[in-house]
Structure formats: structure tokens, C-alpha cells
Amino acid sequence: MSQIYKREMVFILAGVVAFVMILDYFFGKNIPGISGAGNLSSTLQTWALIIQLMAIGLGAINLIQVHYRQISRKTNMALYSAWFMVFFAILLLLGFYKLATGVEPYPYTWIFANVYVSLGATLYAITGFYIFSAAYRAFRARNIDAAILLIGGIFVLLANAPIGEVIWGGFPLIGNWFNNVGQVPGMRTFTVVGALGLLAYGFRALIGKERGFYSEVQ
């Protein structure tokens, strides 16, 4: 049985959208109807945005499934999952009230500022700990590779902290040179080869040769 709409049509749609984007980038100015507000490419981008926004429900369903599983199987995480469900439901109700009336209830504002934002900052900063221990292990001069990593890292560290220039005037000089020049070859090559990889990957994905994008599913 021909099931062209399950595979081939999907690739064709992706290809058409990609082609519009490419046309828009290169010839947008010259082809009427492609570029600019309200035209094909920006319409497609608005569509993509709306799809993105609507996808969160799928995520919510997954997360509720995960926690429901914990509760129904009475695992040692069941209590926390129950707390998740309750707190989530309360907050969602508050949010719906906000959407319906346009007035943000005070508990919602309070939770947003003191729980959501604050925990966000906390998690973001937690990296400080991990980076310390990562540096402690990575910056051991086990071999030449690691030694170069170490040299690059140490000089930049001491160039960034004001104490570096107090210790020795050469630290900011050399450290900033590593920053402005020393890292450029590696960085620039990353950029170039990354872009090449992206081109090849995009090409393969759009012609249906990439496993990640539905090339194997039935």
C-alpha cells in the first residue's frame, strides 16, 4: 500500500519550507511576495512560532504521565510527585484566572518572583561549583594537550580578575592576547567546520538520508 503521505510528503513539506527560507535570505528583496512583513517567509515563521507555542501541551502530558506513574506505583518518589501535581494544579488555576480576567493574582506574582525567578538564578549559578571541580581535574598537565589547556586557562583567569595585574603586569597582557588572538584559530575553525557540518547535515536531512529526521520510521 502506498503511504506516501507518511514519509515522502513530510520531506517535501520540509524541503519546500527550507527552500522558501533560502530564497528569502538571498533574493528576498527582489522577489515580491517572499520577504517582508505579511509575506510568505514571515508567514511561515509565524506559523512555526505558533506550532512551537502549542507544543508545550505535549510536554505537560509527558510530565504528568511521568509523575502519575510514580504515584500509581507508590515508588519512593510518590510523595514528591503528588506535591508536583498539587502545586502545578494550583498555579495553573491562578494562571487561568490571570488569562481570563487580565488581572494577575498576587500569589501568582509572588510565586513568579520568589520561587520561579529566584530558583532560576540559583540553578544558573550552581555551575560555579561544578566549574571549579571541572577545572581542578581538567587543568592537570597530564600530557601536552592538557598542558596547553592549562596555560590558556590560567592566563585568562588571571587576566580577568583584577588581582592578576596586581600580582604581575604580564598576566592581563598575555591573558588578553590569548583571548583576542590565541583562541581565534581554534574558535574560527570551529565556526567554519561547524557551518560546513551544518550544510551537509541539512542537505542529507532534507533529502531524507538522515536518521534523526524520520528516515527510518515507518
Binding site: 512551537q52 508545550i56 505535549l58 509527558n62 561547524g194 560546513l196 551537509a200
Partner: protein, 265 residues
């Protein structure tokens, strides 16, 4: 330029794009036609079966994530990386299904969920065990980067995965998940094309795929000759870049601007 195609500075870019696609196509055709092209082996890819084998031996699960990826597939920097990560996820899941290892995929990209679920389900079906696939165990979605990190950290300490595979568009979570995995002694394989996270993946993981290696890895896994052919296309482009660099360097020494003005057309 007086023609109607006024490209500004994009003319060279367009030429490059066309040349690239022509090269990819040509080498894919050549490889299919029997030209011998062998991709360099990536230790990180070769280590994946070992990582799954380790999990099977220890009877522990596998942690997999494609990173934060700006929360959507529709992001030109991270979307392709997420897709490449999902390619490798398909391969990894299949290995897990074969040896009866539990794999849990952590993500914060809601719009990738259909793709992920179908990819993982296909992997289980290919091993003849579709009934073992349970989305509530295999996929763990969190809405944002920090919750995704919190949940990952908690899960890693509670479940103590034997291996942890991080492939995709990572941001600050890379170093945290990497170190958390290190604490419990997990075998770790990383890969990203986000330059700013590479130092941490290199520092915390046992094996790392750097930049285009991430994209190329799925080509290598597929083992399809024609797909590997496109990698040769990339190499030819690299030679081209090298020639331009060399030529430009020499011209710069004699203070000749012609190459630069040519590229800036």
C-alpha cells in the same frame, strides 16, 4: 551589479552554497557508484556500544540528553544539533533495547517530542520489543532549562546511571550534568556544536564529538556508503577553505587586497 538579482554581499555565499550542494550530491552519487570513501573513526561513536554494554553489566540505566537547544527545533543554530542528537539517540536506543537496558531521555524541547517518541519507538520495534517502550519512563520533559537541569541532577543521583550521553545543543547544563555524572562514576560521551560548551564537554566526558563531528557521527553510524560520501564533499570544501587561507595569507604579505574584495563582492 546591475542585474535584477541584487545580492549585496551574499553573492559569494550563494555560490558557496550551490557549490557545496553540488559537491555533496556528486560525492554521494560517486560513493553509491562504488568509490571507496572511509570516514575517520570517531572514538566517541565507537564508545557508545561499550557504554551500553557497561550499563547492561551493571544493571543500571542510561542517561541521554540533547541539551537545551533553545527550547525548539526551529532554531537555526541548535535545531540541527538537536536533530543530530536524536539520530544518535535512535542508534543508542536500539542498542539499549537489544540488551534490555533502560534509557531515559531528558529534554526541554516540547516540539521535538513527537519526533523523539517516534524515533525511540521505531528503535524498540526494530529489536522486536515494541511493548517495552514506555514514554513515561523513556522520555522526561521539563519546560525550561533550569528545571531540566534540576530534574537531571536529581535523577542522576537517584538512579545512578552507568553511562551518560550528551549530544546536541548544550548550554550551561553541560558542565553540571557532566560533573554530576563524574561524581557517580558514569561513563560519559559528549558532543556539541556549541563552541562555548565544548571546553566542559571535553573536560567532563570520556569522549567528545567536536563541532561537525557531531553532524558526521550519525552519517558514520548509518554506515550508508552514499551518506558517508557527503563527508568527502565537506572535506573538499575544507581544502577549498585551506587554499583561500593560504592564498590570502600570501597576498596579505605583499599587501594585495584582490582576494578580499573578490570575497566581498
Amino acid at each position: 551589479m546591475g542585474v535584477w538579482i541584487i545580492l549585496d554581499t551574499k553573492f559569494v555565499a550563494l555560490l558557496l552554497l550551490i557549490a557545496a550542494f553540488a559537491l555533496f550530491y556528486a560525492y554521494m552519487a560517486l560513493a553509491k557508484g562504488g568509490m571507496k570513501i572511509k570516514a575517520r573513526t570517531f572514538p566517541a561513536v565507537a564508545a557508545i556500544p561499550e557504554a551500553i554494554g557497561r550499563a547492561a553489566e551493571m544493571g543500571r540505566p542510561v542517561y541521554y540528553s540533547t541539551g537545551m537547544g533553545q527550547g525548539t527545533l526551529n532554531n537555526q543554530l541548535n535545531g540541527p544539533q538537536t536533530l543530530a542528537g536524536i539520530s544518535i539517540l535512535g542508534y543508542t536506543t536500539r542498542l539499549c533495547a537489544k540488551s534490555g537496558v533502560k534509557i531515559t531521555y531528558f529534554t526541554m524541547i516540547a516540539d521535538s517530542l513527537p519526533l523523539v517518541e517516534e524515533t525511540m519507538r521505531t528503535a524498540y520495534m526494530a529489536e522486536g520489543k515494541p511493548e517495552e517502550f514506555d514514554p513515561a519512563v523513556a522520555i522526561n520533559f521539563q519546560n525550561e532549562q533550569s528545571p531540566y537541569l534540576t530534574a537531571s541532577l536529581g535523577w542522576i543521583q537517584r538512579e545512578k546511571p552507568a553511562s551518560s550521553i550528551l549530544m546536541g545543543g548544550f548550554y550551561y547544563e553541560a558542565v553540571c550534568i557532566g560533573e554530576a555524572g563524574n561524581t557517580i562514576g558514569a561513563m560519559q560521551i559528549g558532543g556539541s556544536a556549541n563552541t562555548h560548551q565544548l571546553p566542559f564537554l571535553v573536560a567532563t566526558c570520556d569522549y567528545t564529538l567536536i563541532m561537525e563531528e557531531l553532524y558526521a557521527a550519525s552519517a558514520e553510524i548509518s554506515g550508508n556508503l552514499d551518506v558517508i560520501g557527503s563527508l568527502r564533499g565537506e572535506d573538499i570544501l575544507k581544502f577549498f577553505v585551506l587554499i583561500l587561507l593560504g592564498l590570502g595569507f600570501i597576498l596579505a604579505l605583499v599587501n594585495n587586497n584582490s582576494l578580499i574584495s573578490l570575497l566581498k563582492v
